[in-house]
């Protein structure tokens, strides 16, 4: 949905970007101010809030016992879900997950899964029978663009904040013991989304910029600066060298953020 105001602004945004400028005064390679808070929901095993400019995402982690997948009997299970709640934007409607929220959840899921972020081998209670299932629920509270990067960042922060209850097995039954331990984490993937407007590439698009973009491409980057997940989106295209350039941008930006976060 494109509002009337943005129709008027569209041309202005595109023209500015042609001159390497942006409506909010940022450089093409600048992120908006990023604020991260961990542990904001006490009832959840882990939680985090990320503010990326005016975009706000909360992620809550819940942990339950469940069955492992038959092909991975010695690994815990990760489930990622995203809700584009109607309070976050006039364009969001209540109802079952649509293709946008499913795509968002699957991009975040792939970054966490493929980077081997969680040490799932340590989530096994009884091989092939009982494991811990980690539910990552992404809640978008205000949509002002770049939900992918904000959600991915909030998800990893929430996982870092996640505590699991201790347990023991007595006579074949799992008993919860007092005390907690940290969810075993191995990697800290960072997702960087680059969009193409005209023939320019820029990071961290605002909602207005997303409305005029040709296409976007997101890269999840792991601790060794390897690429561990990619997703192109939007109904435009990239030239082959732009894809390579976007990968380099993602690796550079991820490195910068990693330094700031001490990951």
């Amino acid at each position: 949905m494109v509002s009337v105001v943005t129709r008027v602004k569209q041309k202005q945004i595109a023209q500015l970007i042609e001159e390497d400028k942006r409506l909010d005064g940022r450089d093409l390679m600048d992120y908006r101010e990023t604020k991260i808070e961990q542990g904001i929901i006490e009832r959840a095993e882990g939680s985090a809030r990320v503010l990326l400019g005016k975009t706000e995402v909360v992620v809550g982690v819940k942990i339950e016992m469940g069955e492992p997948f038959p092909d991975t009997p010695n690994e815990g299970v990760l489930t990622v879900n995203a809700e584009l709640t109607p309070i976050a934007s006039p364009a969001f409607e209540p109802g079952p997950p649509n293709e946008d929220s499913i795509e968002l959840a699957r991009i975040v899921d792939r970054g966490i899964r493929e980077s081997k972020c969680i040490d799932t081998s340590k989530l096994v209670i009884e091989p092939g029978k009982k494991v811990f299932v980690v539910f990552v629920d992404i809640y978008v509270l205000n949509h002002d663009g770049n939900l992918i990067d904000a959600s991915a960042l909030a998800a990893v922060n929430a996982l870092l904040n996640t505590k699991m209850s201790n347990y023991e097995i007595k006579e074949g039954e799992v008993k919860i013991k007092p005390g907690y331990e940290q969810l075993p984490m191995k990697k800290h993937p960072i997702t960087v989304t680059t969009v193409k407007i005209g023939n320019k590439l820029l990071v961290d698009p605002s909602l207005e910029e997303e409305e005029v973009m040709d296409a976007r491409i997101s890269f999840a980057i792991d601790d060794d600066n390897n690429i561990c997940a990619i997703q192109k989106g939007g109904s435009g295209y990239f030239e082959p060298q732009q894809v390579i350039e976007a990968a380099k941008i993602a690796q550079t930006k991820a490195k910068e953020l990693r330094k700031k976060l001490n990951w």
Partner: protein, 249 residues
């Protein structure tokens, strides 16, 4: 379940099905296979068997989705319950919803959407048998079906994956390689405009490996593109020959 092979590439550098790293699986394409559809195509890519059909431009349903300045391209990617080892529920999975979106967005740049305002074009993809790389084969077939329907296009779209298996960058991963390999990079290309319309990846790659995988996938796309063009021509050559015979009679 089959036992997992220890190595996916043998000492001679050959893959499980005897291919070299840069080899495609056999690809067969056919156009105009569904008489009721406005355009259709069938692809066999390795053991993948996939049908694509296009209906439209037609009236938008539901009406509120209608756009004043262009047609609405809709896409549905669906796997038949019998297309995989264990029966797949026919209800659309989250994977299918995502892939439908990815396929739609990979086709959109090629179609002159603005030619048919206030209409809708449906692209239906049915996977009858899956063997790794179904999204790529689906895009190749769907683009052909669109071309067959006569909707004006800037270019065809053709897709192929590359990836990393053991320590080698290989083209066109089959199911086992996809599941046990280190990375999979599906790419869709508009070959004449040299533009990438789909790029995804899972697995772990260095920047250099990523670059060579993308390049290898684009090479694969160009090889399939030749087959795509041939398939399109074949249909119209056969039509013109039929007409000629009728005229002679």
């Amino acid at each position: 379940m089959n036992d997992k092979p220890e190595k996916l590439i043998d000492k001679k550098g050959l893959r499980l099905d005897g291919r070299k790293p840069e080899d495609l699986r056999p690809v067969k394409l056919e156009v105009g296979v569904i008489p009721n559809a406005d355009g259709s195509a069938y692809v066999e890519h390795g053991k993948n068997k996939i049908l694509a059909a296009v209906y439209g431009p037609r009236e938008v349903h539901p009406k509120h989705l209608s756009l004043q300045d262009r047609t609405v391209l809709k896409c549905r990617y669906h796997m038949a319950p019998f297309s995989v080892q264990e029966r797949k529920s026919p209800a659309p999975s989250r994977r299918e919803v995502e892939l439908s979106k990815m396929i739609k967005e990979s086709l959109e740049p090629a179609v002159f959407l603005e030619y048919y305002p206030r209409t809708m074009v449906d692209v239906f993809v049915e996977v009858l048998q899956a063997d790794g790389g179904t999204r790529c084969a689906s895009i190749t077939a769907a683009a052909l079906a669109l071309a067959d329907s006569g909707i004006p296009m800037r270019d065809l779209v053709v897709a192929c994956a590359a990836g990393k298996v053991d320590d080698t960058i290989v083209l066109d991963l089959m199911d086992t390689e996809d599941k046990l390999g280190a990375a999979d990079v599906p790419v869709a290309l508009m070959p004449n405009l040299n533009a990438i319309t789909l790029l995804q990846m899972d697995g772990i790659l260095t920047h250099e490996e990523f670059e060579s995988a993308v390049n290898m996938a684009m090479e694969g796309c160009r090889k399939i593109y030749a087959i795509q063009k041939e398939a399109l021509k074949t249909k119209y050559v056969s039509i013109s020959e039929e007409n000629k015979e009728e005229a002679e009679e």
